[in-house]
């Protein structure tokens, strides 16, 4: 497996994730986009395993734990935002907060 080809192939996945984070307004969809971008990171770390051996896999496992934590916290915040403001649209919530002020 050529590591350079593997890393270049992962790039579109990362770009789609970043596009989703920047372009979407729904909080859950933003979390899905973060998941996609982090998947590209895990695939890159997996490629590192072919060069550095098991160290790459150990780093990958630690990153997977962090992704799961981020998702849990983000989704809990989404539920709380829906309960408080009645929406998970980040622009709508910003408007509501400005109106409150």
């Amino acid at each position: 497996m050529n590591a350079i080809i593997a890393l270049i192939a992962v790039l579109p996945l990362l770009l789609i994730g970043i596009y989703g984070i920047l372009a979407r307004r729904h909080l859950i969809r933003i979390i899905i986009s973060i998941e996609i971008a982090m998947s590209a990171v895990i695939l890159s770390i997996g490629t590192l395993a072919t060069v550095k051996g098991s160290l790459g896999e150990v780093l990958g496992v630690l990153v997977i734990i962090i992704i799961a934590l981020e998702a849990a916290l983000g989704l809990a915040l989404a539920i709380e935002m829906d309960r408080t403001y009645g929406s998970v649209d980040i622009l709508e919530i910003r408007k509501l907060k400005e109106e409150e002020k």
Partner: protein
């Protein structure tokens, strides 16, 4: 720089292509539940790509945590934050489910091939070395991460709970 593409690399590129397509569909679809279905396809395709590298241990952990844990959280959050409407299964969704099933079959076939280590891929996961690294060399890191995980999960429960 050697850029020869062998059959293993070609299969890796196919898996990455499928993962990219599914991720694009997950971003573009209007309904969150449909996005979750496409996300499963992305997870399975990514795990398949990791198996093509030879990192089957990482692929398994990735699939267990994401397709088993994070996806369920996303579906529950989607169900809790939107009005409850019954979406009838469409031909499009059935087609995606069929593609996902095909990907899972391909994944199992890859796992059977990869079990003959060093034959199919130049690198294969070494479980004893991973455990040694994870619990000895990176034991402190794992411990700190576990404590952070506990704190974050308790925080998430507190945030999501109705009575504070």
């Amino acid at each position: 720089m050697d850029l020869i593409i062998d059959s293993n690399t070609l299969l890796y590129l196919v898996a990455i292509g499928w993962a990219t397509l599914f991720s694009f569909l997950a971003i573009r679809t209007r309904d969150i539940l449909y996005s979750a279905v496409f996300l499963v396809g992305m997870y399975v395709a990514s795990a398949w790509a990791l198996i093509q590298i030879g990192a089957w241990f990482l692929a398994l952990i990735y699939l267990f945590v994401n397709a088993g844990g994070v996806l369920v959280l996303i579906i529950f959050a989607a169900m809790l934050t939107r009005p409850t409407i019954d979406i009838p299964p469409t031909k499009e969704l059935s087609r995606v489910a069929f593609i996902n099933a095909l990907l899972i079959v391909a994944l199992i076939a890859s796992m059977i091939l990869i079990s003959k280590s060093e034959i199919y891929t130049s690198f294969s996961s070494n479980l004893s070395l991973i455990i040694k690294l994870l619990f000895n060399d990176y034991g402190i890191t794992l411990f700190i991460l576990s404590l952070a995980a506990l704190a974050i999960y308790l925080g998430a429960i507190y945030i999501a709970s109705e009575e504070k």
